[in-house]
């Protein structure tokens, strides 16, 4: 602990500024990744036919792939992953254009959540290192939004670890959203759990342009990882978001033990919800949670599923979200040419990411323009 020291030593001092940190990445998971399913042997002619059919559907006919077509692509052996990725990149350019949307996120209320999502370190039901903390004050939220803007982002998402917002939380959020918009010019998104019809209406009227509520996984696998609410309750909230005119951000978490078939099931369920954005998370096993002893998805497998998500959801904003540093390591830039067209910059809710400068350099090296609020930087 020789490198640790205290500053602003007075307990309760609220003037301290957040401490910037440089993260040194190592390879903590080398040789220790989640086992992959055995896939059938497929002749190269058959593989090429499946890829050509997908290309024709997505680029010529401009239609969505069916679950059956997606399952056929998911079966392709590892040596075809680069072909899947190349097609996914072309599909992304054709359906979405070249811009990359950059977003910063903030956990404005951390820990103490009554739900039991087995992957989450913020559940009060598990003994994790994350200490519950109350709602940050407005100055702290504004400062985080300024950090987000300084990183070149156009989006800022205020996230709360709650089942759903109570009235006090609703009012705090509805105060913060216009404040952040006016001070920073950023588009403001919110993630505050399950909503009632009236809450969705009030958020939409209050300037929340996008609301995040993840399905996380397929309907058939969901009861394995969450027991305190149902997949259908999540689906209902997603529908309310759209019904009230907000953009729907509805993400997935890959690597909790679901099968290939269940990932395809989720893709079809997401097609039905038709979200604007899909944040793609990879499990980063959190100490103390039921999935804490799990293993990350292998990098090459993650590239396969990034490509499949793009091929299944050709028009969405497909965002790199939690777990990408741990899962993809040196392949993060390859994900950008496998269907990703958005990323969370900087840190996550309770864990750290690599620096914004590294991501912006990566985008520059890839000649990918960063989407701005009104145009392209």
């Amino acid at each position: 602990m020789s490198r640790a020291n205290y500053r602003n030593g007075m307990p309760g001092d609220t003037t301290a500024t957040p401490i910037r940190t440089t993260v040194t990445l190592s390879a903590p998971n080398r040789g220790r990744t989640r086992p992959e399913p055995e896939r059938p042997a497929i002749e190269s002619g058959d593989a090429r036919r499946r890829l050509r059919a997908a290309e024709m559907a997505l680029l010529d006919e401009h239609r969505l792939l069916t679950g059956e077509e997606l399952a056929g692509l998911a079966e392709l052996p590892d040596q075809w992953v680069t072909s899947l990725a190349a097609l996914a990149h072309q599909v992304r350019l054709d359906w979405c254009g070249p811009e990359v949307e950059v977003e910063g996120i903030l956990s404005a209320k951390t820990g103490g959540c009554p739900e039991d999502c087995h992957f989450c370190s913020q559940s009060s039901r598990f003994d994790t290192p994350v200490k519950a903390t109350p709602f940050l004050d407005a100055d702290e939220v504004l400062q985080a939004a300024e950090e987000t803007r300084a990183a070149g982002a156009s989006e800022f998402c205020i996230v709360l670890a709650v089942r759903g917002p109570d009235e006090r939380t609703m009012q705090r959020i509805l105060e913060l959203v216009p404040m952040v918009q006016e001070k920073t010019g950023l588009n403001v998104a919110v993630s505050a759990g399950l909503l009632t019809d009236d809450q969705a209406r009030r958020f939409a009227a209050g300037g929340v342009h996008r609301y995040n509520h993840n399905l996380e996984t397929s309907r058939s696998f969901f009861p394995n990882v969450v027991t305190t609410h149902t997949w259908e309750e999540r689906q209902d909230t997603c529908r309310l978001v759209r019904d009230h005119g907000m953009e729907l951000c509805c993400g997935a978490l890959i690597g909790m033990g679901e099968s290939d078939e269940q990932r395809i099931e989720l893709l079809v369920q997401l097609q039905e919800l038709d979200p604007t954005e899909v944040p793609l998370n990879f499990l980063n096993p959190r100490p103390g949670t039921p999935l804490g002893d799990g293993q990350p998805v292998a990098a090459w497998e993650a590239i396969r599923w990034i490509a499949l998500f793009r091929l299944g959801l050709p028009g969405v904003i497909l965002r790199y979200a939690g777990g990408r540093e741990v899962t993809l390591r040196e392949l993060q830039s390859m994900g950008m040419t496998s269907g990703i067209n958005a990323l969370i910059v900087g840190n996550y809710l309770t864990t750290l990411g690599r620096s914004a400068d590294e991501d912006l350099q990566m985008l520059s090296d890839l000649r990918m323009p960063v989407g701005a609020i009104t145009g392209v930087l």
Partner: protein
């Protein structure tokens, strides 16, 4: 502030155990979660550009 005897003990900032080099807690993408001096859970606020970790006994913790 705690006494000198406590201040000399190093606790793992990842799991709070009485060891400065706890095996398995070398996660480079986690902020500190426990005070290295007293082992208490820290109040941690992670923001897009950094984090703040505060012990109720020892104030803000900086890693450089």
């Amino acid at each position: 502030m705690t006494g000198e005897s406590t201040a000399k003990v190093a606790f793992c900032t990842g799991c709070g155990s009485m060891s400065a080099s706890c095996p398995g807690c070398g996660r480079t993408l986690d902020p500190p979660r426990f005070c290295p001096t007293c082992g208490r859970r820290l109040t941690v606020a992670v923001t897009p550009g950094g984090y703040r970790a505060r012990c109720r006994e020892h104030g803000d913790l900086a890693l450089d």
